[in-house]
Amino acid sequence: MDSLTALLEGFATALQPQYLLYALFGVFIGTAVGVLPGIGPAMTVALLLPLTYSLDPTGALIVFAGIYYGGMYGGSTTSILLNTPGESASIVTALEGNRMAKTGRGAAALATAAIGSFVAGTAATLALTFLAPGIARLAVQLGPADYFALIVVAFLTVGALLGSSVPRGLASLGLGLLLGLVGTEVLSGQQRYTFGVPSLADGIDVVIIAVGLFALGETLYVASRLRHGPVRVIPVTRGWRTWMSRRDWSRSWRPWLRGTAIGFPIGTIPAGGADVATFLSYATERKLARGEAKGEFGRGAIEGVAGPEAANNAAAAGVLVPLLTLGLPTTATAAIIISAFQSYGIRPGPMLFENQSGLVWALIASLYLGNVMLLVLNLPLVGMWVKVLRIPRPYLYAGILAFAGLGAYALHFNVLDTLTLLVVGVVGFLMRRYGYPVAPMVVGGILGPMAEEQLRKSMAISQGDLSYLVHSPFAIVAYSTLAVIVGLGMWLKRRKARLEASAPFPAEQPAQDAERVE
């Protein structure tokens, strides 16, 4: 009941006209940028950070929540209407949604994605509302050794599970940890790896790492292998009122609920975030399909859009559980959100619900509001998103570069940050080029300093006794769960690989070919 009162207070804050406007602005700009091809949720959040630099913390976080959810919504529109596979989280939407669009059912695909996202987003936010305070209360009792265990879990799952090769993931993690080391060390005040450059003494901002890897690195990579020629967007016909037939509804609602049930728990554990959840949901729907739907899978089954899209958004809300209650980012997007919190001097973690309860609940309330706004915005505005999709690519990527530059320079108004951004960007380009995942680097950059602090605190308590790290039941459970998660992750990954092998992407295979395979 406690959290209900707090939530109502949160709504009271979030419903103030000025915050309502902030939320609307956030979801609008988040969707607009998320719709842009080649821009995933992480890049959306990283690029739009400068927008919040001059707002008050509550306003900034509300804008941010809107951008986060909006970016997730926007991605599905891209993958349904463009002919090519897109960002990882909504790639299975591309699989079925894109084929639905090709057969003239694009409107139904967009509608089931939007409504499914709304249903899943709302249900998952509800789960977040009731779970988070309890977890935070438990988390208050955790000691530094427990935190260290949690961080090690996050490191290894994000580093070893994301991407195709374990050593590449760990190398990426190591690069992030190294960047995190640069600067003045907190406990003894020593400078490390600063080359005596004063501006490096404050450390390298995670925003620079994120914008560099996602915006700059991605742009350089796309530029190196740009698809030339006209942009092919599948036209959407029919008015938005008649988008979904009664039959579409009856085929969609179960996948929405199943997707939510799959997405939320997977989002809360550090297992690669939305990516894994969408694939699991797709596999489930495919297996459960009966009759006519079974034959449609691979040629545009509405269940294959409804389920994964719901799972995607439920996982996005699930990611917020460890983020808000433990201060643990489990995806690159979450790492950027943490850095935004930190720039306001707010430290996410168990104390957040006590020290900043007004702020947290306003944030959670704005998630509910943002979901409603997205539903209202997305369906009628599809015509506009289609225009956004047609932006000529040279201008699109030139614009991304300009905003990346703005994000870096506006941090401290120092061109050295711009230079650091460029170096990180080139590294990000090379990493993509040679198949290294970039997310572990961002997570390493933000969690590295936290890991060191907790490790040194526990060593100070135990007077250097290493066994202190596993003295508490919680730490033991965490390390054994780690083993299970890694095992489970490997299994999920193999499943995903099998699924991909059995259902090739439209872009990599001509349509007739794919149909023959089916």
Partner: protein, 187 residues
């Protein structure tokens, strides 16, 4: 997304060499070697971190850097071993990425060069000019059809961001000597 990509794809991607194995993956070795070198640097550098005398903390400021260096070296060596055994990295996919195109290093170099102009131009000529040069240069490098559209769009973007972020949101972006005398750009 990358794990299931067919084998020929990554062979083509590494510099457009036709089938796998005809050309050593120099770039992959080089990048992994640079990562390993950074790890070695982290280890050596850790030795030079000053440990304040008389500090009672058990774990000094050097231990964690040592661990990071070791992780980086170990992971990079493992990558090198994998590559040597024929397990190459699989380049990323993307909506605008042509999976069959060879890497166009020239375009990347042009983009990096135009981004570098920011270092000089932002403070010397002002933010709007800096953005205009970056935007127009990048769009031209990426194959924009009409260069003057790119220049005009770049100038427009520079002025709009200056107004929105500098004047309206209050970030202190330098307007530059050309615009500084106009009150609205003063922020």
């Amino acid at each position: 997304m990358t794990e299931s990509a067919p084998a020929p794809l990554d062979a083509q991607a590494s510099g457009g060499a036709p089938p796998r194995g005809t050309r050593a993956p120099v770039g992959e070795y080089a990048f992994a070697a640079v990562c390993a070198a950074l790890g070695v640097y982290a280890i050596i550098g850790a030795g030079f971190i000053r440990v304040p005398p008389g500090s009672a903390s058990v774990l000094g400021p050097r231990v964690f850097p040592y661990a990071v260096g070791v992780l980086l070296v170990a992971a990079s060596v493992a990558v090198i071993v994998q590559v040597a055994r024929g397990r190459r990295g699989v380049p990323d996919d993307g909506e605008d990425v042509d999976p069959d195109a060879p890497t166009d290093w020239l375009t990347v170099a042009k983009l990096v060069a135009f981004f570098l102009t920011q270092l000089v131009l932002i403070e010397w000529a002002g933010w709007p000019i800096g953005v205009a040069v970056l935007f127009a240069g990048a769009a031209w490098s990426l194959g924009a059809k009409r260069w003057w559209v790119a220049v005009l769009a770049g100038l427009g973007l520079g002025l709009v961001t200056q107004l929105v972020f500098g004047a309206w949101l209050g970030l202190s972006l330098p307007a530059g000597p050309l615009l500084d005398w106009i009150p609205i750009f003063h922020g």
